[in-house]
Amino acid sequence: MSSLILRTATRYLVPLLLLFSIYLLLAGHNYPGGGFVGGLAAAAGLALYALAFDVRSARTMLRLTPTGVSALGLMLAALSGLPGILRGSSFLTGKWMVAYLPGFDPIKIGTPVLFDLGVYLVVLGVTMSIIFALAEEES
């Protein structure tokens, strides 16, 4: 039986963790962070959710199956290497687009960012699949 206090705190903490994980993912190219830590932090959030509530609701939060999330991530990471090939360069060559928004510094979006997103998803999905499977284990 879980704790009311934990559940309530979790409701407020999980969004924080997810937000933090997205920050880590996006800031990772320039500041400490990146897909790994980001994905792991998101996974930690969902894990907290699974601990405080139950696995079923945590699964619902994730929507896709954990395996699906990680497969998607891996595919994304691999696909992010293809634009390089299509543009006549090597596999995994970074290709960048610069978006100019008035009032902001130019935003650079490149395949390495997609790659990092793939990493994020894989880490999230895998960690979740392991934790969910273990938590659902009956003895």
Partner: protein, 157 residues
């Protein structure tokens, strides 16, 4: 909530006007914004926001004082060689009802002197706390109900 949003917006506009998104500037913008909203009170109609703002400030002040004091007391007990404490577990009847109320009460009790929330009874009517000085459980109950819980519930309801 709408009022809080307006206040934050005003703070941002202030920062934009002054051209510096620094923390002091934002804080100043927030205060000025509150003053502006206060001025506009007749126009906007009655809102709990006007009273909640100062109450929140005063609650935070109270709470911070309690935290510091509590820490000092425990610290004192830690550095002095003898244990002055007479610990015990006390049951506190709860007025708080919603999840958030219960949780906040429990957490704040944990952060204030000499008391530590251990658990909420399954019926949510009783909070079991561990107290450092539990010679007089009734006094503890009264102190919490009159002080922390009342102030908090006023703020929340």
């Amino acid at each position: 909530m709408k009022m809080l949003f307006s206040n934050v917006l005003l703070a941002l506009i202030w920062s934009a006007m002054t051209g510096a998104f620094t923390l002091p500037n934002l804080a100043a913008g927030f205060v000025f914004g509150y003053v502006a909203l206060l001025i506009l009170k007749p126009l906007l109609g009655e809102s709990a926001y006007y009273s909640k703002f100062p109450r929140t400030i005063s609650f935070l002040a109270y709470f911070l004082k309690e935290v510091v004091v509590s820490s000092l007391r425990v610290a004192w007990d830690v550095i002095t060689p003898t244990h002055y404490n007479r610990p015990g577990i006390v049951a506190i009847p709860l007025e708080a009802r919603t999840d958030l109320e219960v949780t906040l009460v429990a957490n704040l009790i944990s952060l204030t002197p000499g008391t530590l929330s251990l658990d909420v009874a399954p019926d949510r009517r009783t909070l079991y706390i561990h107290a450092m000085f539990a010679e007089n459980p009734d006094a503890i109950r009264r102190e919490i109900k009159e002080g922390l819980e009342r102030r908090l519930l006023e703020l929340l309801r």
